[in-house]
């Protein structure tokens, strides 16, 4: 025991420990669903042994049954299999676009916040311009220039989202840059580079990652919007947005074609949103506001 014991006042402040393991049922469900979706994306073979592109026109438009859990589509392909295999493309678009947007947003945002007035002005004015355009319109334009296809949709959605992240990172980095602990580190005589890497970056990235989980949902929805407009990922490899938009014409003849991929999109977005929300709560719980 040290010479001066913790005094009454100090011990009166309860030690706030991280509350991690007490997951709520909703969060648990969301996490479980996410794991399931990721598994489907990585190892679709685990969930089904049919091929998502194998046609069987004779068995077209079968309603859900023990044989075909989610029914079959117009070409007799198993909707369940296609939903499972669609997870890869859809999640790839969602995750890929979000990751791309987050990383480029982070680099640009940090550059703006720490790179001096000129860089800041230049980057932020550019961001202003991009932010002035609706995300979907921007994505539309980019797809027009790049052409459709999975990768291009991903890039379009990412580029449309990136300026928002750059803004966020910049704002966050400006706060962190002036934070007491950054000054404290400077007073310790740490080189600027070290300060940025050790203190500015990690504390900026936290909220960004949380935003990213929410951005994932937006990306998925934007991508499906592009599919609906005929500018999405390309068949025959299944993708939820494309399936959903295909299914819209079967709403009263074969609802299962659109409803199941639609449900997949909704479930994925909800799962990620709930996880993101939990992350945000945790994050705010872990740092001073």
């Amino acid at each position: 025991m040290s010479a001066v014991a913790a005094t009454a006042a100090e011990s009166a402040v309860p030690a706030v420990r991280f509350r991690i393991r007490r997951a709520r049922p909703g969060a648990f469900l969301a996490a479980a669903l996410l794991v399931l979706l990721l598994a489907a994306a990585l190892f679709p073979g685990l969930f089904t042994d049919t091929s998502p592109t194998a046609t069987d026109p004779v068995n077209a438009l079968q309603a859900p049954s023990g044989e075909n859990w989610f029914g079959t589509d117009q070409l007799g392909r198993d909707t369940y299999t296609r939903v499972v295999f669609g997870a890869r493309t859809s999640l790839l678009i969602g995750l890929g676009a979000t990751a791309f947007a987050v990383v480029s947003g982070m680099v640009l945002g940090l550059a703006a916040a720490l790179g001096g007035r000129v860089a800041d002005n230049l980057l932020m004015r550019a961001a202003d311009v991009l932010l002035a355009l609706p995300e979907l319109l921007l994505a539309l334009l980019i797809v027009t220039v790049l052409g459709t296809g999975t990768t291009n949709v991903m890039i379009a959605v990412a580029l449309a989202a990136a300026p928002g992240y750059a803004r966020l990172v910049r704002a966050e980095a400006l706060v962190v840059r002036g934070a007491g602990y950054v000054e404290a580190a400077a007073v310790l005589g740490l080189p600027r580079r070290t300060v940025v890497v050790r203190h500015v970056l990690p504390n900026t990235v936290g909220p960004l990652l949380v935003m990213g989980t929410i951005g994932f949902g937006t990306a998925l929805i934007n991508a499906s919007g592009l599919s609906f407009l005929g500018l999405g990922a390309q068949p025959p490899s299944p993708e939820w947005g494309a399936m959903l938009s295909e299914g819209r014409n079967f709403l009263d003849t074969a609802w299962w074609i659109g409803v199941f991929p639609g449900a997949a999109v909704t479930v994925a977005v909800i799962a990620v949103n709930v996880a993101g929300h939990r992350a945000r709560v945790r994050f705010h719980g872990g740092t001073p506001r």
Partner: protein, 331 residues
Amino acid sequence: MTSPMPGAPKKVRPASGRTGVAQVLLRVLLTRLASVAFVLFGAATLAFAGLKLLPGDPVATLLGPQTTASPAVREQIRDEYGFDDPVYAQYIGYLDDLVHLRFGESYQLQRPVADLIADQFAPTAQLAFSAALLSVVVAVVVAVLTAGRRGVGRSAANTVELFAVSTPSFWLGIVLLTVFSFRMRVLPVAGADGFESLVLPTVTLAVPITAVLTQVLRESMESALDEPFALTARARGLSRLGVQVRHVLRHAAIPLATLSGWLTGTLLGGTVLVETVFARPGVGALTLDAVTSRDMPVVMGVVLLAALCFAVISQLVDALYLVIDPRLRKG
């Protein structure tokens, strides 16, 4: 925790040698205008760059695959639109046109872009405005009723919101159409005449926006409810609802105003989908047609319009901030 003296906000001493109010106003106005102009210029440049980056022969694009247009006609088109001029010359000509408010003519529709957009703006504005109104009203009501409470109502609202933000709007639109127009036949399927035809598109456009607004509003209301002034108000004998309405709502309006940029974008972007689903005339439908048929003058016009809307609304919101929050007023 007590909050002793040094945590207090700094008193800003009055400016020495106070400049005239008119002068300050003028300066503010000029900087604002400059920033609007810059955003417009940037958007115009972006659109132009997009046009130039388009792969393929612009004339082929313009004519589409199914045509018997003769080489002479192709030459004529090439000439008329100046596709053969050097890029910088085209760019300068384009900027010059813009400065003189000449927005060119649609390749596909062979109509002046300004006319086209002016024509199509009204129904879109109507839709966007009614959706914005609906979402703000619903969001405020739901947020006031659920902020700072826990229980069934709150969790139900939360769940509905989650679903609302997670469902693609075109899907929602088709489902709504099927139910209310095709099955129940209470609302018309499409078009832009009269109030009835506005209901479903408005709801479709508003649903995801409402969900986001409600969440933001509720969160900021809750943080305002945590503020000592809310407790003070209750200590004066105000009821819970009274505090929400008289004090907290105004505070919550600030983050709401911050979202206006996002709101503008989402509304305009959303109209592309909603107008397509509901076969409504409007800028959104025009945009989609223009983008898919690569009618670049129209695309540029729409880009400029979107940027203008955004810039004007952000300026309005900046002014609104001053109305809501006296702390931001200068002097």
